[in-house]
């Protein structure tokens, strides 16, 4: 990408930044003007100040939860891609499994969080990784499978005319076709992973975990700390999503969604 392209992209962000700053300003102004109680809605300034003063507990807690999310994200995504690849090899299994996977995708997996806590040690990060992993698994599976199955029949016919083996067709046609689908799923999964880790912690976890801090602080009316913890979770979620999107931009810059930016 050229420097000019970067400049243009930066300029495209300006309206969003303006709206964000205005919204936070309005929030601050209204909470002061209407004298809103701290426990209903703390002011942005007090959230940010507690984000800083409680940094010694909040930031490590964020890192702890982030690692859980990351572990679950990696586990669920890798398994999703692997299972999808295996299923795509066998068309009949695929057509039997795809509707089930779509249905599984609609199941509110997060409802299983307390059960996962019971299955694994609720205090260990593994139970949260499992929740995040299961959340990530189905969208990645469904999208990857769809991607692997949407290779153009003409492209495959062309490859056959070159006497290309099934493996060559898989490597040079099916996988590249599937990549944009995979990245769409990974972006969804990156968000779900953070949700899974934090919500999993609501049902019990180590005292140094972000979800536990949010819950206990809310219970003792430390709402500014709870909000600051949510801010930490949001920032980390954005970071994970942004990293996936950045990798996507490098790997599949030819995909229809991204190509206009590079033209």
């Amino acid at each position: 990408m050229s420097a000019r392209g970067a400049g243009r992209r930066l300029r495209e962000w300006i309206p969003a930044v303006v709206v964000f700053v205005a919204a936070v300003g309005l929030w601050e102004g209204l909470t002061v003007a209407l004298d809103v109680q701290q426990f209903l809605l703390p002011r942005p300034t007090s959230i940010v100040s507690s984000f800083w003063t409680d940094r010694h507990s909040l930031w490590p807690a964020g890192w702890y939860t982030f690692k859980e999310a990351l572990g679950g994200f990696a586990l669920g995504s890798v398994l999703g891609v692997l299972v999808a690849s295996a299923v795509a090899r066998f068309r009949r299994v695929g057509s039997a499994l795809l509707p089930l996977a779509v249905a599984a995708n609609a199941v509110p997996v997060i409802a299983f969080a307390p059960i996962f806590n019971a299955w694994f040690n609720p205090l260990s990060p593994h139970s949260k990784m499992a929740i995040a992993g299961v959340l990530c698994f189905t969208p990645v599976l469904v999208n990857t499978l769809r991607g692997l199955q949407s290779a153009s029949p003409r492209q495959i016919e062309l490859m056959r005319s070159y006497a290309a083996s099934d493996f060559e067709i898989w490597r040079r046609v099916r996988v590249p076709t599937a990549l944009p689908y995979v990245f769409t799923a990974l972006k969804v999964a990156s968000v779900l992973a953070m949700i899974g880790a934090v919500v999993g912690e609501y049902f019990g976890g180590a005292l140094t975990a972000l979800g536990v801090i949010i819950r206990s602080d809310a219970q003792i009316f430390q709402f500014d700390t709870a909000w600051a913890a949510i801010l930490v979770a949001s920032l980390l979620g954005l970071t994970l999503y942004g990293s996936v999107a950045a990798v996507e931009r490098v790997v599949v810059r030819w995909s229809p969604e991204l190509r206009s930016a590079d033209r």
């Binding site: 003409r154 016919e157 062309l158 005319s161 070159y162 599949v252 030819w254 229809p256």
Partner: protein, 275 residues
Amino acid sequence: MTSSVPNAPVVELAGITKTFARGDITALDHIDLALHAGEFVSLIGPSGCGKSTLLRIVGDLVEPTSGTVTVNGKSARQARADGDYGIVFQDAVLFDWRTVSKNIALPLELLGWDRERRRERVERMLELVELGGFADHHPWQLSGGMQQRVAIARAFAFEPTLLLMDEPFGALDEMTRDRLNLELLSIWRELRSTVVFVTHSISEAVFLSTRVVVMSPRPGRIAGVVEIDLPALRTVETREDPRFFALVTQVRELLRTRGEHLLPEEEHALMEGSG
């Protein structure tokens, strides 16, 4: 890659019949046809005459119900395995994730050519289709005509003995089509391949070919073969040659009289296409 027997046909079709299981439709009925080295043969006929199916049978992409295909003295399967075929479809069928030069290099990669040899050949092909400045572009950045030129460059790149083209210019506007016809002929003259060309357009078939095979539908049969005795070097003026018009009329008459099963709209489409 040529046959060991001199003057043996590049392609020999004997008694090719193709029926489709559902509703036992006979797409092709006992087709016999021989193509010789360096020929440019067009298959023309209304929809449903099985011309695209015949092309795919030659290329071993569709299996005939009965009959034999011999390519360079081998079975079609063996010919495909040996890389004897170059194929161009109606749409360019380019790979969006590859640049123009990587698209052209694809068959060369599959044949195991080394990097240096690939680079040289791709460069030559880009020159041949006049896309020298577009090597690092992606397909979606090109116009339809340019995309089809990339597809042609890719098909000719590894010098297959047999080029199979399935309405390659059918989706292009007429001016682009006329220009690409000339380009295709100059590449064909330079590389001396044998071409099988499926088209809907009578004038395109006459302009390009050394021989036009007219097919009739339901079941697909060869209605007649027209030898095109125009000068070997075709130019823009060829289209104004009285002989050109005479041949166009001859093909059209064959389509009319022998293709009596034509539906009115198909006939209309053929007449339009010939314009």
